[in-house]
């Protein structure tokens, strides 16, 4: 172990693995990282164990990058462990930042989720009523699995977070830029900063032509033939780009899909979904309540549009039960 090297750990909580792949997607740069760092844990690529981390002195790690949301007690346990052992804790990716896709589960209760996954799922064998239990008695002994929380949390709901790298997943070049900065030893931005993203919205980098906006009808992307040059929102496609930080490289609109907001809210915005609702409805071209309702009926699943990634980080955080 070379103490001159940067001591780091990467971890996935409730995640899909995309964040880890985005780190790997830095291509050859990963070799520079490997040269500059000692990696103590990185489940997707490295065989570090929890006990190895537990054995480290507190604050030993220079950097811990946590991706994924906090869905169960294991996610939280490791978040606390890494926090204790690290000087800098980074929430990496949308899930750690604002809850991400797993956060959408906050519209349901734990019981509903279990029912859907373990009881009513068509692939469940008839009569099988097994639902995960944190403790199970087996042959006189007790087996435990992590407790499934009643809702999804973002990382900073459970531990103190120093920096956020947004995105689902973060763009590899952003990951590279942030890691390079840390490796270089240059001064870091103020604690709590969102790094690897722009202070301006996606529209800044989106090359589609923007005009004044008045909407008579909303469409899902497949319902119309798009004008590839024109702002998607102007075409009636609910695009979250104007309410979302840029930094992703305009991946979605450049692929003719609207922005879904994975880079999270703008610096001054408290609730990204509220802003999406406010702006999209403001530009409806009608002053008649009935017509407005009719136009709005073209927006299906408003929760999905407003909080595709930001549910757990929103003001309401979860549905009311």
């Amino acid at each position: 172990m070379d103490k001159k090297k940067l001591q780091i750990a990467l971890y996935w909580g409730a995640a899909c693995g995309g964040c880890d792949v985005s780190v790997l997607d830095t291509n050859e740069f990963i070799l520079d990282i490997a040269a500059a760092c000692d990696i103590h844990m990185w489940p997707i690529a490295h065989d570090g164990k929890y006990k190895d981390i537990e054995a480290l002195e507190d604050g030993f790690l220079d950097l811990a990058m946590y991706n994924g949301a906090v869905r169960n007690s294991e996610n939280e346990h490791i978040a606390h462990l890494l926090r204790k052992k690290s000087k800098v804790m980074v929430a990496y990716g949308s899930c750690a930042h604002i809850g991400g896709i797993p956060g959408l589960a906050n519209t349901f209760t734990r019981e509903e989720i279990f029912e859907s996954a373990y009881l009513k799922n068509p692939s469940i064998q008839e009569g099988n009523k097994t639902v995960p239990q944190p403790q199970t008695e087996v042959d006189g002994g007790e087996l435990t699995i992590p407790a499934f929380y009643k809702r999804v949390y973002k990382l900073d709901d459970v531990v103190d977070v120093d920096y956020y790298i947004p995105g689902c997943p973060p763009a590899p070049e952003q990951c590279k830029a942030v890691l390079s900065l840390i490796v270089s030893g240059q001064p870091l931005p103020p604690k709590g900063s969102v790094v690897g993203a722009s202070e301006r919205a996606l529209c800044e980098d989106c090359q589609r032509k923007k005009d004044e906006k008045m909407i008579k009808q909303f469409f899902r992307p497949w319902q119309i033939i798009q004008d590839p040059e024109k702002c998607l929102l102007e075409q009636g496609i609910v695009c979250a780009g104007s309410a979302t930080r840029s930094g992703c490289g305009v991946r979605c609109p450049d692929s003719n899909m609207p922005c879904r907001g994975c880079y999270g809210p703008m610096p001054n915005v408290v609730d990204q979904g509220a802003k999406i609702i406010s702006s999209v409805s403001s530009i409806i071209d009608s002053q008649d309540p009935e017509e407005i309702d009719k136009i709005l009926s073209g927006i299906h699943d408003i929760t999905g549009y407003a909080y595709r990634f930001g549910m757990a980080g929103s003001l309401l955080q979860r549905s009311v039960r």
């Binding site: 802003k275 709005l296 309401l316």
Partner: protein
Amino acid sequence: MGFEPRIVGFLCNWCSYTGADLAGTSRIKYQPNVSIIRVMCSARIDPTFVLKALSMGADGVVICGCHPVDCHYISGNYKAMRRFPLLKKLLKEFGVEDERVRLEWVSASEGQRFSEVINDMTDKIRALGPSKIRVQLDADKVER
């Protein structure tokens, strides 16, 4: 004393706030459960304000603006008119009861109507019971 709802009212300066003032100068009595926050126009009311109030423990939120056509700012109230149904759609998906959030048009001369809106809303929310939003958010911090 039983449950007393806490309601936050966002009122536009020119019509509704003046209408609420008129209820005062006319000494029209209504229930004390609404606390009013003045904004220049109902168009200023960001859905964020409503969510913020609910997350802070409001049992209800009422938005009041000038009647359609009557807006001091020509068309500000139409912006509120467009935003409100989409916000309601979202709140419904979040399980927030319909009675808790309202949009009402109250003109500067409708002190009486303002008092009726507040009384009606207070009664309905009192019957509905306290909002669980804040309680739930607080509980989430303690018990996962």
